[in-house]
Symmetry: C2
Subunit: 702 residues, 2 copies
């Protein structure tokens, strides 16, 4: 039977493309100027060039992405990863080009962790010999690896892992073993089917002592035919909420022997024969990588929010619903339904997300700068920045990934029923995004690291101020600065008395600083004076991390717009046009005020703001949204410069052809490839036409 | 190649089953007593009986549910729906039995809307003749129907639909037509593939006038062979975030003629020949159904939260992570990791969800009672309850479905990485649940109905009080009661001065009443005095609906525990045991205090609570969680009485065999049915062994 043909009808007026054109005509700044500020000219040119390549490669075609079951999707992702490597080799891509192409294709795959974790681990922990043996073949994809740390019973607490690697002096080998079911390696991306090697984190046992988790490079599948090696069992852990194009795997070792060179020995090693353990020189070095990963997740959070809100904002300008009776819209002399973007509730849902995406842009940039600066410092023995950068990166990872997951889901819901369709692009985006709130440290758990740093800073500062040897002008980081301002006057009140005054960015920043400091002081008092246990304070500790990181986001947003953020070495400065600067200032304004308006509790309990002021802030929020952000909403999301190929969304298309694209996508649904569904004869006909009567019986009945 | 065999290893100590046994020994109340209070003995017995049947029917087997792609899932769901109808016919199930069986199988299907919307619409809007012609064959599944209201361009605003049904006097027919792409019927459950009839909402046009949307029963597929009838095009709208076992469909009509009897004519009709329109007697009657659907969604919200938190609570008692240094747990003389349920943050995430599920139980019960009472009243011409019930049902639908969606996702995340696995049961649960926040009125949009009612009530009350003819003792509903208390003294302050005093339920309820009334008064002032537009107040209107409905939930929880909630007619009272009553009182306490603690803003800005009191509430929350709820946590979720067959979760099993079940489920992953994945030769081998070398080359290299 032939496929169904849906009719080609036009949508009723006004058309989506006309509505978007109209929106774009209202933009007060040059969209390309703002895109260039965000990404640089080079990046945007490269995007055009890469797009032309990617859109022509069948392995990257997205038109059937939403229809496939997991088995098909994994097969497609392997084909895609293969094609990507081939293409990168053909065109001799730089790492930047590779990453940008990967982001445009936007689908995890079996080789992802080979590049993302296996090779970086080899690079940072290998001896020269190991670089030759493991890293170089890995770079040529002769070795395809994965990173096997997490166990079935052990996630965030790496120290608790149970897999053992016992040194056998007689043969100069390690015996890797899985003693319990809870020690099964689990969740390991690329392990399920693709990898032939693994970095395995296992407890190093030698000379009767347990030295805790160490990294071992271990062959797991045969280089001849990819079968599992004797002593290794591995497979796929099954379907997941998202990330189904990756073969997350599980693995067990049965007294599996590997030679001594398997232990990645740049930092710590074993003396052959005696099995004596040689300690690493400084274990702080490993924090560097953690900071990098967490800082890069702030950038990924920006990307996630920005993609989702691009779709929702464009669609909201097109979708019309009900008539706003106080201000009806006209088309000629007809009253038409109001675009949903004109409802204040929709603005309150979406515009703060636009603002958050820009906020994360500045903070992500700053975190990367701090990471490189800190690495440089540490290399020369200066660890003074590490605590601050580590604390911020933990708290910011937690806050921004939580924000982004909420933002994607909010955008999905803000698209109404159609946000539930896969063709909106939002369900899969959410499903693939949400592991970010769990991996690299659960978002609740890791805020304890931020808290610990804040409390220590506060206690040190209090002690210093009491010592008489204190000089405020020596304070060199923003955390100490806001804590110090608070200690100068804990009972300070916000001076603003009108909605207009709350648009002052300094007034906003002071409120965030005071609130964070007040929470820090409260918790330190509870811990040190009231002697409450750490466990009993975890909710407050989470909240203080949020408050601290919101301060950072607000501050970087302000400094970034002003051009006052330090520039990374060797990076050319791109100036903001005055129009774009003004428009971004409105977003920064909304960003800071909206968070207070939505959750004013701590600003009030800190005593810094009062009820009247919160109400003024509410007015200021509605004012900036309606009068400043609304005309630029589509321009702000256009400036993110996401091509349709990336978004793969019927609702978020640049040209506004929402309903036509949506219908066209539905024609490709496999169920529509035949008119009568397969189960009809067995499961429907016995009810509706058991005797197999001929003729259109029901038509006749009518 | 043969399937992979994962090893049978035991988890390390302590075992999940022992941990749950230990938890259960701490429960202070009889779990079965509480289950009986929730459901009644009859329901629980029926569940056992139905389970025995369902678990033996292959069409209901859930063991491969998480592995299937959409095409397979739709096919399986049709098979399941067929089997369910056959089983119900064989055992002559009552509607209650049918619904209970459906809930245990817990999978939407192609016949769902036939029962859920098609037949109920026929039942309420048919003439006697139409009952014979349409409803009776539908009850026998000769007719399988769907309910086609939503259009591609028109959702919540039903008045905006564009499909037309024009009366043709010459032939005494209606011509149904789709004029634009935006008029395509869309999202119609069961339409995609299964239905042969549809109730179509179309604009009734007759004698040159447009009478707006009316319901028509229309044949769409042939009764002979299920092909589409000439003039009708229909298909499936494609994959969705969830609900993928339902064939949501789209449909177009091309000048499609149906006889006059197609118009469901109980309330309004057309005179043959002249085409004169006969108006319905009272259009308020249709609100009844809307109230029923929204009220039933409160019950579904309870079910959703309860299922999710059952899984997360049991798993949290088993999952161990890190050592709480202030209070390390021992196994023999070994320090072991602490169960995550013992961390205060985990308690703060999960216990309020347990409390919310119980809160929704009482309010759902009360809403159903009010629905039936209101229907009875309306039948005798008394519409006095309608406004209040309609307003509450809208606001409660919005609040409780938003709470439930958030709760399911929070439970998923609270299971850490494993919550991301489909085998946790939580991803699919979330995906299938979330349409609730959009359908039956978008959760932001419908709160305007609640707001309108509150503002009118407030204005009327103010006018009555000013008239001098006011008698407070005549106030007969809780909304007016809290508004009146507020008007007696808008500047009232909460009298509590210690954490202990906040455990007083009356003090809690007064805070909720004052806060809601304060918001109502503020908005009425903004609308009536400041003359702000309705659109500019939508955020505040949403917030006031939340505040009002939180008041209702808190109040019903308190009354329900005390046995002071009115009992529906003819329903036997089940008494709470004193132990269960005490335990539920702790939950009610937590429910009320936690919401204030989490979002204290409006309680502070209303002036009713101060910062010190919010801090005391924080202490009260932590105290009740640790000392009262913690020992009963597993008992509370056990009392929900969800069988493992329903939950279908490795993490939430009653017996605590988390890791064993999880591993066993992974063995069934299709990718594990062969050792080497299909794409190896094409996509991996060219990199790893291009020359096809024999021998384990990498092993050799090591």
């Amino acid at each position: 039977m032939s496929a169904l043909r849906f009719p080609h009808l036009p949508p009723s007026e006004p058309q989506g493309c006309d509505l978007l054109t109209q929106e774009r005509s209202k933009t007060t700044f040059g969209v390309h100027d703002l895109s260039t500020f965000l990404y640089g000219e080079l990046y945007l040119e490269r995007q055009e060039r890469l797009l032309a390549l990617l859109e022509n490669e069948p392995a990257f075609n997205k038109s059937n992405r939403y229809f496939k079951g997991r088995t098909e999707r994994i097969a497609g992702a392997l084909r895609k990863d293969h094609a990507l490597v081939k293409l990168s080799q053909k065109h001799k891509w730089t790492p930047e080009e590779f990453m940008q192409a990967e982001a445009l294709i936007d689908e995890a795959g079996p080789f992802g962790l080979h590049r993302g974790m296996f090779m970086p681990t080899l690079a940072s922990q290998s001896t020269d010999e190991q670089i030759e043996k493991f890293l170089k073949p890995a770079m040529r994809y002769e070795i395809i690896g994965c990173y096997a740390q997490t166990e079935l019973g052990h996630g965030s607490n790496v120290q608790g892992i149970e897999t053992t690697a016992t040194y056998i002096p007689e043969t100069d080998e390690f015996e890797i073993h899985t003693p319990y079911l809870t020690a099964s390696k689990w969740w390991i991306g690329g392990l399920g089917k693709a990898a032939n090697h693994a970095v395995v984190m296992a407890r190093l046992k030698t000379a009767g002592k347990d030295y805790g988790p160490h990294a071992f490079v271990v062959p797991i599948r045969s280089m001849e035919d990819h079968t599992l090696l004797p002593g290794v069992m591995a497979g796929d852990i099954g379907p997941k909420f998202g990330y189904n194009t990756t073969d997350n795997g599980c693995m067990w070792f049965d007294h599996y022997r590997v030679p001594r060179i398997s232990l990645l020995a740049k930092h710590s090693s074993i003396k052959p024969g005696s099995g004596e353990y040689v300690k690493p020189p400084n274990d702080k070095l490993s924090y560097g990588t953690m900071v990098l990963v967490r800082a890069s997740l702030v950038g990924a959070a920006r990307q996630g929010m920005a993609k989702a809100v691009t779709i929702a904002t464009r669609y909201s300008a097109i979708r019309r619903q009900f008539v706003d009776k106080d201000s009806p819209k006209m088309l000629g002399d007809q009253i038409i339904e109001t675009s949903v973007i004109d409802y204040s509730m929709q603005q309150y849902r979406l515009f703060p997300i636009i603002a958050s995406a820009y906020a994360c842009f500045f903070t992500s940039k700053e975190m990367m700068r701090l990471y490189y600066l800190n690495m440089k410092n540490m290399a020369s023995g200066d660890f003074s920045m590490l605590a601050d950068v580590h604390a911020s990166s933990s708290g910011l990872k937690s806050l921004t990934t939580t924000m982004a997951a909420a933002a994607i889901e909010e955008c999905r819901r803000a698209c109404g029923g159609h946000g539930f369709s896969s063709f909106s692009g939002l369900p899969l985006m959410l499903q693939d995004y949400v592991p970010n709130v769990t991996w690299e440290g659960d978002n609740y758990m890791i805020t304890q690291q931020t808290g610990r740093y804040l409390f220590k800073s506060f206690r040190d500062l209090v002690a210093k101020r009491a010592s008489g040897k204190f000089n405020a002008s020596l304070i060199n980081n923003p955390t100490l600065a806001y804590l110090n301002t608070y200690l100068d006057n804990p009972d300070l009140k916000c001076p603003a008395t009108s909605a207009a005054q709350f648009h002052n960015l300094e007034i906003q920043l002071a409120a965030y600083g005071h609130r964070a400091a007040h929470l820090v002081a409260d918790i330190v008092n509870a811990l040190d004076v009231e002697k409450r246990t750490w466990n009993s304070m975890l909710v407050e500790i989470y909240n203080v991390s949020v408050a601290h990181c919101q301060f950072i986001l607000v501050q970087n947003f302000i400094l970034g717009i002003r051009g006052e953020m330090p520039q990374p070495e060797g990076v050319a400065v791109v100036e903001l046009s005055p129009q774009a600067k003004e428009a971004l200032t409105d977003l920064s304004d909304l960003f800071a005020l909206h968070m207070i308006h939505k959750q004013p509790g701590e600003f009030l309990t800190s005593g810094y703001l009062n009820a009247k002021q919160v109400s003024l802030i509410g007015k200021a929020v509605m004012d900036v949204m309606e009068n400043k952000i609304r005309p630029n909403a589509v321009g702000f999301v256009d400036a993110f410069a996401f091509p349709d190929f990336l978004l793969n969304s019927a609702l978020g298309r640049y040209d506004g052809k929402v309903y036509e694209t949506y219908t066209e996508m539905a024609t490709r649904e496999p169920l529509n490839q035949m008119e009568v569904m397969e189960g009809y004869e067995t499961y429907i006909k016995p009810f509706t036409n058991p005797q197999g009567k001929k003729g259109n019986t029901m038509q006749a009945r009518l």
